[in-house]
């Protein structure tokens, strides 16, 4: 094993190269990134990074490490601003255009690309948020004022709405489905946490789509499918992302909503592993094919995939209870597990109170998920219970004991 190539220079790719060196890999390591930037932390981009600093200074760019660290400490060849264009598993080569980079082991971690609003390419003031460049463009736009229309009521859209409200702008979220976040936390809880928007002065319109985005040069209004028209100086698309795997068409990998892998994040092709948003793998904790789009999984999979790639004979499965968080209007929302449930039960709080919310998800007789709002002390207890396969009865008993201890 002489040459490790990591394709994708965000969190999963960073963890892959760091882990390889930490574990003592002494061969050549190449990190290929589509963006010109060094790896940076994405969660802040839709949160604090959009805020105006107290002294009007923009928050610093959230780079994880400086260039010197990669070159001198990690001895990594950085190929940034160089999107990979093809993988040839027979020749064990990754291509960047005509340039080939040979590998003995490769970790594919090309992440996701934001869906953008079609037909708005010629209109300024229309944004999406995925990259550092996107975030800087949006932050600059927010300095010039609203009103702001956010298309899509998911976590990213909601965080952007929260940042825009903090600046005092009129904000409207347009969500095509009847309740936001149905896929992430279930329709009932999606509707419940939507109340945070109402309480904080953001208008949320559900069950209506966008018919047209209009303006002369710069965006001026959003026309909805129900006939309403919203004035807009800034439009932000928060309509999800798609795994960046088109470049692997024809590579022989199984592509189906990401790169299909086994439990060890192996793609089934010699030397080729996947990590982060692109990896769709059978998560042993739940026994089903899953694909994550969260920080925690990207970090862990990057490390696991590279260890397995460098020592396939001792490859270990990657099992996890998913965890993600979101910050809206100063309130922290946290979710662990999966939302596909037979029953969702409030064990603390209620939709009309602004204290702690703890909500549990049951599938069969088992606890499979937990959602908390403003309850940071509770969430990880439930992650532990889900990891250990706790029964629903035990989870409810635990919740009661927590509640009693606080009373």
């Amino acid at each position: 094993m002489e040459s490790l190539v990591v394709v994708g220079a965000s969190l999963a790719g960073l963890r892959a190269v760091e882990t390889a060196r930490k574990d003592g890999f002494t061969g050549r390591v190449t990190l290929i990134g589509a963006e010109k930037h060094l790896p940076y932390d994405r969660p802040p981009l839709s949160k604090a990074f959009l805020d105006r600093g107290e002294d009007e200074l923009a928050p610093p760019r959230p780079f994880y490490r400086d260039e010197r660290f990669f070159i001198e400490d990690l001895d990594v060849d950085l190929l940034l601003g160089s999107p990979a264009t093809a993988l040839d598993p027979a020749a064990k080569t990754v291509y960047i255009g005509n340039r080939g980079v040979a590998y003995d082991a490769v970790v594919l971690a090309t992440g996701s690309g934001a869906r953008r609003l079609p037909g708005t390419e010629l209109l300024s003031g229309v944004h999406a948020l995925r990259t550092l460049d996107d975030a800087e463009a949006l932050r600059d736009a927010l300095a010039d004022g609203g009103p702001v229309v956010v298309v899509g009521g998911g976590f990213i859209g909601s965080e952007i709405a929260s940042s825009a409200r903090k600046r005092g702008f009129d904000v409207t979220i347009v969500e095509a489905t009847p309740a936001p976040l149905a896929r992430a936390i279930g329709a009932d809880m999606g509707a419940a946490i939507a109340s945070l928007h109402y309480r904080n002065g953001t208008t949320l319109l559900c069950g209506t789509g966008v018919e047209a985005i209009e303006g002369g040069g710069h965006v001026e209004r959003v026309v909805l499918t129900d006939g309403r028209t919203l004035p807009a100086a800034i439009v932000v698309a928060g309509i999800g992302s798609v795994p960046a795997v088109e470049w692997l068409d024809g590579s022989g990998l199984t592509l189906d909503n990401g790169i299909v892998c086994d439990e060890t994040l192996w793609t089934g092709v010699e030397g080729v592993y996947a990590a982060g948003d692109v990896a769709r793998w059978p998560n042993p904790t739940f026994g089903s094919l899953q694909r994550m789009e969260n920080w925690t999984a990207a970090a862990e999979q990057g490390a696991r995939a590279v260890r397995n790639a460098l020592d396939p004979a001792r490859a270990q499965p990657y099992a996890t209870v998913p965890y993600y968080w979101s910050d809206w209007y100063g309130d922290r929302i946290q979710f662990v597990g999966v939302p596909d449930a037979d029953e969702v039960a409030w064990v603390e709080g209620a939709v009309d109170d602004d204290g702690r919310w703890v909500v549990l998800y049951r599938a069969g007789e088992r606890l499979v998920g937990a959602l908390t709002v403003r309850a940071p002390s509770e969430i990880m207890k439930y992650r532990g219970l889900i990891q250990r396969g706790a029964s629903w009865v035990d989870a409810l008993e635990f919740a009661t004991s927590r509640h009693r201890a606080r009373a």
């Binding site: 932390d41 969660p43 920080w295 925690t296 970090a299 862990e300 490390a303 209870v321 965890y323 968080w325 922290r332 946290q334 702690r356 309850a375 940071p376 002390s377 969430i379 990880m380 207890k381 992650r383 532990g384 990891q387």
Partner: protein
Amino acid sequence: MKISVDYEKCTGLGICESLAPDVFEVDDSGALVLLKESLSDEEREAVEAAVAACPTEALRLHSVVTTPSVARP
């Protein structure tokens, strides 16, 4: 081994608590509480994982340097 927390960076996301619940706990206000500061060798592996997994890179693990006892006046 000894753990230190940079409270300027920590936002109480709790990944450390899920990896090493005997050592870390997030309290009601979202602040991280160290349940113990000195670690046994058995706890060390879990804490190392927690240090590596912290999204805000707020955790550090130090070897404890035993200073020779100094005669006090």
